[in-house]
Amino acid sequence: MNKEYIIRNLKAILGRAYPRVIAANREYSWIIADIILPLLSVIAYGTLYKFLGASKDFLGFAVLGGAMSAFWLNVLWDMASQLYWEKMSGNLQLYILSPISLVSILLGMSIGGMLATSLRAAATLIVGTFIFKLDFSLINITQLLLVFFLTLAALYGLGMMLASLYLIWGREAWHLSEFFQEPVYLVSGMYFPVKFLGKVGFFSSLIPLTVGLDGLRQLLFKEGATFGFLSVNIEILILIILTVIYALLAIYYLKKMEYLARKEGKLTIRWE
């Protein structure tokens, strides 16, 4: 791998991240949608908790879950489905023709997506905090940052892997993203501590959001540790393992997808 190739790929990463951060912010309706839609769920679930007489920390769990759901939506709709959309719009063939690795394209999408979604998730968190007058009690900032960034790394690694799989699965991409929305909210304990799902929690730990969200709750709320699923250190370890596994699988499936698509001549076929 020569220096020129590396620079070219770094430029590709920047180039693909650019529209995710800059262009996405040009369409105001998308910004509003990305903030308002999770916020509506947050208000609904928070109000339900309030109505049921839950403690403020549970309201906080719902708000944090709603904020983190923005990342899951971004991974599903803007990562996993992306290569399929690119095929539909005719860009995929250009990516493959260009002298760069497809991994750089996906990495650029991930970095851009993370940055843009972080702003939206922060907005949901701030407005949710304001509406429900939440009390945070920060336990350990180093662990908090570690859990947050590892969650994003593992989550976007999963997104990169799904991008290739979605392309193989073809026109069912839209439905798959729909399918993976609410069921993942349920099994990952997006709006309630995953501890209450019992053994299901171990299986859903394959979704980085499950352990990530649980760790963040433990580190941000007084009652977080009481309702914690695993200890934060174990959750950090799980997130590291998931990050590595999903990154490797993403590269493997990307190569496989490209081979299959070339072999079957499907790179330029729309609506399939």
Partner: protein, 282 residues
């Protein structure tokens, strides 16, 4: 061909088209799982939240919650189904212009497409209620003559779903890609304001009163009253089911007149401004 026969034919064709669009992308079993996964997951999130806070204790709130959520699915899906049809057919399939110039009325066409969603939602809602009945020990304590009121209320309430659906479809004729966001957020707003998962009185002041003027609020609380003996919104708590039914019918009529005029106006404006075949989503 008689007017009624033509109406039924048009409705049947658009329903069939809607059904095919919804279901023909996969095999029936996968479609069945896909159709149930989303609504059932949403219902289970609420049930888990409830169970955690009540520490496993069941009280009268759970049946209210389950029925409210099951009925809200109709609001969300029919509203989304009808409004999304405009965007989907215009932006992705690019067939809205052909439907517009065909002898089918857009009004009937959207009703048929919405009805496909209505049927799919019926299965999900039914399963949620049955699940509550079998596994969560939800028991119905219906009012006298519930077998008369239930189908009437279900029918009148269902009409209100379609009326609201026309409103959002009308808006989507006039706007571009923002329609997708508007449609999704509308379902969220209805969840908050109609008392589906908590009483509307939980909101303070004006917000807690808006729901009274939304037909779905009366529908959901009326259905609770019919099946469980009482509702949970204080405004309707002492109201007889007959009065609630009258109120729902009156609101339906008022909304229908306003929305029918708005819908036709939207179509007219969309045609004048050349929006019927616009493409704004890539």
């Amino acid at each position: 061909m008689g007017i009624i026969k033509k109406f039924l034919n048009d409705f049947k064709s658009s329903f069939y088209l809607g059904w095919k669009i919804e279901s023909n992308w996969t095999d029936p079993l996968l479609f069945f799982i896909y159709s149930l996964a989303k609504p059932l997951s949403s219902a289970f999130i609420l049930i888990f939240m409830y169970m955690i806070i009540s520490q496993g204790q069941m009280n009268e709130m759970l049946p209210h919650l389950i029925i409210g959520n099951a009925l809200h699915l109709y609001t969300a899906n029919v509203l989304f189904g009808m409004a999304w049809t405009v965007i989907d057919d215009r932006e992705f399939y690019e067939t809205l212009k052909y439907i517009y110039i065909s002898p089918v009325s857009m009004f009937q066409f959207l009703a048929g497409r919405g009805f496909a969603k209505y049927l799919i939602t019926t299965i999900s809602s039914f399963i949620i209620i049955i699940f509550g009945f079998i596994f969560l020990n939800v028991r119905f304590t219906p009012i006298a003559s519930w077998y008369i009121y239930f189908p009437i209320f279900l029918f009148v309430g269902s009409i209100s779903l379609f009326i609201i659906g026309y409103f959002f479809a009308g808006i989507n004729f006039l706007i571009s890609r923002q329609g997708s966001f508007l449609t999704q957020s509308a379902a969220g707003v209805f969840l908050l304001l109609t008392g589906a998962i908590f009483p509307i009185d939980t909101f303070p002041g004006f917000l807690g009163k808006v729901g009274i003027y939304i037909p779905q609020t009366i529908w959901i609380d009326g259905m609770r009253k019919i099946l469980l003996g009482d509702g949970w919104n204080s405004f309707f708590i002492n109201m007889s089911i007959n009065r609630m039914l009258s109120m729902l019918i009156i609101e339906n009529i008022i909304y229908f007149i306003i929305i029918f005029l708005f819908f036709n106006f939207s179509l007219k404006i969309a045609r004048q401004r050349g929006l019927i075949d616009q493409r704004t989503m890539g």
